[in-house]
């Protein structure tokens, strides 16, 4: 490995990228390195560390708008908005524990690059749904801005949103503007104990289709519930969780509405705010699968397809799984070392389609197995052409998402 370049500001960053282009030295781009082991390993001569391009540029709580430099730690941003009774409603997941690093790391640049989200993705969307604008340096070594600093804006192509989830392969944001939202005054979680996967997803579907405004819905089969490790939560049974957030009277009212919806057949329990918050954080960070290095998949499919996908796959593979996003997100940990990519992706196709990301695997496995869902030919061609337009020399994280991207 060569140099680690640590630009102090945007000007340094432009200089670094131009130098890399002229020397034909690809760069591995990092913030605090919390997600460095996620994705196809990058063949790069040098490391480009963006963590020094840090700090809040403007924050106007009354406008619900926040502009921060990309190297700013997520934790710092979350503390700041919390002080003002607000939040990043897309709940950026912390990959640290799952990937064997310490919790609480990660920068805003990583939030954009990985398009982070959490259980509330279901109602509030992901980072891409909250980004309003950005300034960035392309793989051509040119500064550009796109989007704006207001909530409603259709001036030009939506590049800020499109850069979310591009894993640093198109351009490097230096400053990012997000929409922030008021933090809920309180919350509670409805716990439905002892349901099978299929019953759980049926119950979550009913709740999501009601007017109870459920902001997150997850199902932890007992094996996952036991390992989640949240004080005040009894993990000895299968647990179906429905999150309610808002003003106190509203949360109480909706809790009653859901209890009525399920009737006497299911004995709904109520988890109060503190336990609820801790529990959803643990679901967000995939804590049941933290602490070892067995392969972990993150599978996105139509919510009702979740249980059938899991049942179908369990006939050929040994794994454990739990569900978020009302069944539409399946976290899956294999019990032996082989990620079984083909069997798994075939299973996703049989379940009606979606995509599977191998979020945890060894360096060697990630080199040989496609980490992100392979794309059909015309779409893959379009992706390559897009990469070419932003980073024609292949300087930025080359190959991180797939060969050629």
């Amino acid at each position: 490995m060569g140099e680690t370049l640590k630009p102090r500001d945007e000007k340094d960053l432009v200089e670094a990228v131009r130098w890399a282009i002229s020397e034909d030295h690809p760069l591995e781009v990092i913030g605090q390195g919390s997600k460095r082991d996620l994705g196809r390993p990058v063949q790069a001569g040098h490391v480009l560390d963006l963590s020094a391009i840090s700090g809040v540029e403007t924050y106007e709580p009354a406008e619900l708008v926040l502009t921060v430099r990309a190297g700013t730690p997520i934790a710092e941003v979350e503390r700041l908005v919390e002080e003002h009774g607000q939040e990043l409603a897309f709940e950026p997941m912390d990959y640290g524990p799952l990937l064997g690093r310490e919790p609480g790391l990660g920068t805003i640049g990583g939030v954009v690059g990985a398009n982070l989200s959490g259980p509330k993705r279901l109602k509030h969307g992901a980072a891409r749904d909250h980004i309003l604008g950005l300034q960035a340096v392309s793989g051509r070594g040119e500064v550009f801005k796109a989007g704006g600093k207001v909530v409603k804006n259709v001036t030009g192509y939506d590049l800020p949103r499109a850069l979310c989830g591009s894993w640093g392969t198109l351009a490097l944001a230096t400053s990012v503007t997000f929409k922030v939202l008021p933090r809920a005054q309180t919350e509670a979680t409805v716990l439905l104990p002892g349901l099978s996967d299929a019953e759980a997803v049926r119950s979550m579907t009913r709740a999501m289709g009601s007017s109870a405004e459920v902001s997150a819905a997850a199902h932890l089969p007992r094996e996952a519930a036991e390992k989640i490790g949240v004080d005040g939560f009894d993990g000895t049974k299968d647990a179906t969780l429905l999150r309610l957030e808002g003003f106190g009277p509203s949360v109480d009212y909706r809790f009653d509405a859901l209890r009525k919806l399920f009737g006497d057949a299911i004995a709904a329990e109520r988890l109060e705010a503190d336990v609820s918050r801790a529990l959803w954080r643990a679901v967000r960070d995939c804590l049941p699968f933290a602490g070892d290095d067995a392969p972990v998949w993150r599978v996105s499919l139509a919510p009702t397809a979740g249980p059938a996908f899991v049942a179908d796959l369990s006939r050929v593979l040994a794994f454990e799984a739990f569900y978020d996003w009302s069944g539409g997100l399946v976290w899956l940990r294999l019990k032996d070392g082989d990620p079984q990519a083909e069997a798994l992706r075939e299973g996703v196709k049989r379940a009606g389609g979606g995509h599977a990301t191998l979020v945890r695997a060894s360096h060697a496995v990630r080199t040989s197995v496609p980490v992100f869902e392979p794309q059909p030919k015309p779409l893959a061609g379009l992706s390559r052409r897009l990469k070419q337009q932003f980073d024609p020399s292949g300087i930025l994280n080359p190959g991180r998402m797939a060969s050629g991207l």
Binding site: E3, R8, D12, E15, A16, R18, S22, E60, A62, E63, L64, V65, N115, S117, R121, G125, R128, S138, E142, F144, G148, K149, V150, V151, K152, N153, V154, T155, G156, Y157, D158, L159, A162, C164, L181, T205, M208, G209, S211, E213, G246, F247, S250, S300, A302, P303, T304, G328, L329, G352, G354, H355, E373, Q375, P378, L379, L386, Q388, Q389, A402
Partner: protein
């Protein structure tokens, strides 16, 4: 026609018109090709009626395969294509080109699948925005984005413009409510992105397509998310002695952690025009009127209404009226929803602008607008999506008076420049189209615009799809791709690297 120049028509293409019509007729047999001037009239303009142009030919395909073959043919023969939905664009997004095929998608009008369990609906792009809600309202569901033109506008057009509506702050724009697309590239290749699942596999092409104004691809199928209708909705009318008080009230509502379903502001000229037209009971003496709608569980709505009344009183509200029935709520909205036609009654013509500003700048922008009104000698009425800062100044003019259209356009351009100056943007929801094309430089640098156009090159390197819209200067893709590489030394050698 006013001052916005379109790309010069290609004589070679114009000369081959008969051949092109014949080729298209082969792809779309029967009555799917229109080439008589009298019949093409219906397509000569969209919602921006000051601009008109007959297309080369109109084609109305019915299948994805036909769309693919039409685009492939045009790609191979270097013929431009202008896609069109319901033709309600207010920015000229569907304005035809003299040497371009007008591709109408309105025969794609079927709801293909309703999946209540996954809260997803699959439709063809010609289905109207309201048509989606109509298809699912029986089961208590609806599609959230609700542009004012929702009776007529198509979901395909909503994708092109990333349409909003009055409920955006709480429920998001089109881009936040679309799950998947099938689309055809200019080469004829058919691509599917997203579906009933969340997040994109690979680059977020959905994000690029939504709001791309018909420049990147032709949408042939759309999957949207539907929501269960709120249990209840109530609105409150609040009249203020000044727009400053009204603006402060909006900031305080949001500061109290309340995100209303809708929050609309009108200034005095708009209040009067609307009240005279629909008699909604608006306070005529108020300088500014706020309509705040709360939706959700009844307990929540009641709780928040009392909070909002307190906040309004603390901000010098002179009238506060809460709707006590669904009819009354609809009456409160009737005035706002009829604001554009109401203004149409007091003026022969009007131009509807669409800037967005940081909310706190509203008093400054309104004051600026009063000064501009005097400068240009034209009246202006304002309706404002107060929750998200999206401002719709309606400039009143008379097209029959020489010079008034030009004055109105100059007034509009000045307003949009003012919006950008205070930290806002040129267009919140109507799109750039041709209308704001030449103002893009007010907001973006040449490098910003070049990077945007490089995206176009990835989708349509021949610039055949809807050229002349959005970008003031067309650069060839070869020119945009050129890169100047300077052999350099190791950067910033004076700082530590580890």
């Amino acid at each position: 026609m006013s001052g916005i120049a379109m790309p010069k028509p290609s004589d070679a293409v114009l000369a081959r018109r008969r051949e092109i019509v014949a080729a298209l007729s082969e792809i779309v047999p029967g009555e799917g090709v229109i080439d008589a001037d009298t019949e093409m009239r219906a397509y000569e303009t969209d919602g921006l009626t000051a601009y008109r142009q007959l297309p080369l030919v109109v084609v109305l395909p019915e299948t994805v395969d036909q769309v693919s073959r039409i685009l492939r043919y045009c790609y191979e023969n270097d013929v431009k294509v202008v896609p069109r939905g319901a033709g309600t664009s207010l920015s000229g997004g569907a304005l035809p080109l003299a040497d371009g095929v007008l591709l109408s998608m309105m025969k794609f009008n079927q709801v293909l699948e309703i999946d209540y369990e996954n809260r997803a609906v699959v439709v063809q792009p010609g289905v109207t925005n309201l048509g989606i809600t109509r298809a699912v309202e029986e089961e208590g569901f609806y599609y959230a984005p609700d542009p004012s033109s929702q009776i007529a506008c198509s979901i395909g057009g909503n994708i092109a413009e990333n349409s909003g509506g009055v409920h955006c702050l709480k429920y998001g724009l089109t881009t936040n409510n679309v799950l998947g697309l099938q689309m055809v590239l200019m080469t004829g290749e058919v691509i599917r992105i997203g579906g009933k699942h969340l997040d994109s596999e690979g680059y977020d092409m959905l994000a690029l397509m939504t709001g791309s104004e018909g420049l990147l691809g032709v949408v042939t199928e759309v999957t949207v998310r539907i929501l269960q209708s709120p249990e209840t909705a109530r609105a409150v009318l609040i009249g203020f002695p000044s727009s400053e008080d009204s603006g402060k009230c909006v900031a305080d509502i949001i500061g109290a952690g309340i995100i209303p379903g809708g929050m609309e502001m009108m200034d005095k000229p708009a209040i009067h025009a609307a009240e005279d037209f629909v008699h909604a009971g608006y306070p005529r003496e108020a300088e500014a009127l706020l309509i705040v709608e709360l939706d959700g569980p009844e307990a929540e709505v009641d709780h928040l209404l009392s909070r909002i009344e307190e906040i309004a009183k603390a901000n010098k509200a002179e009238t506060i009226r809460v709707s006590n029935s669904e009819e009354e709520r609809m009456t409160f909205w009737a005035g706002r929803k009829a604001a554009f036609p109401a203004v149409g009654r007091i003026s022969p013509d009007y131009l509807c602008m669409d800037g967005t500003i940081p909310r706190k700048e509203l008093p400054k922008v309104l004051a600026g607008m009063r000064a501009l009104s005097e400068k240009h000698g034209l009246r202006v009425a304002n309706v404002f999506h107060a929750g998200d800062g999206n401002l719709h100044p309606l400039i009143l003019y008379d097209a029959n008076k020489p010079g008034e259209l030009e004055a109105a356009e100059a007034f509009g351009a000045d307003i949009l420049k003012l919006c950008v100056e205070v930290g806002g943007v040129l267009t919140g929801e109507h799109g750039v189209g041709i209308e704001k094309r030449d103002l893009m430089g007010e907001m973006f640098s040449e490098d910003d615009l070049k990077q945007q156009q490089r995206v176009k090159c990835a989708f349509d390197e021949k610039h055949l799809l809807n050229p002349g819209k959005v970008f003031p200067t067309l650069h060839r893709c070869a020119e945009l791709g050129r890169m100047h590489v300077h052999k350099g030394k190791l950067p910033f050698p004076d700082i530590p690297r580890f």
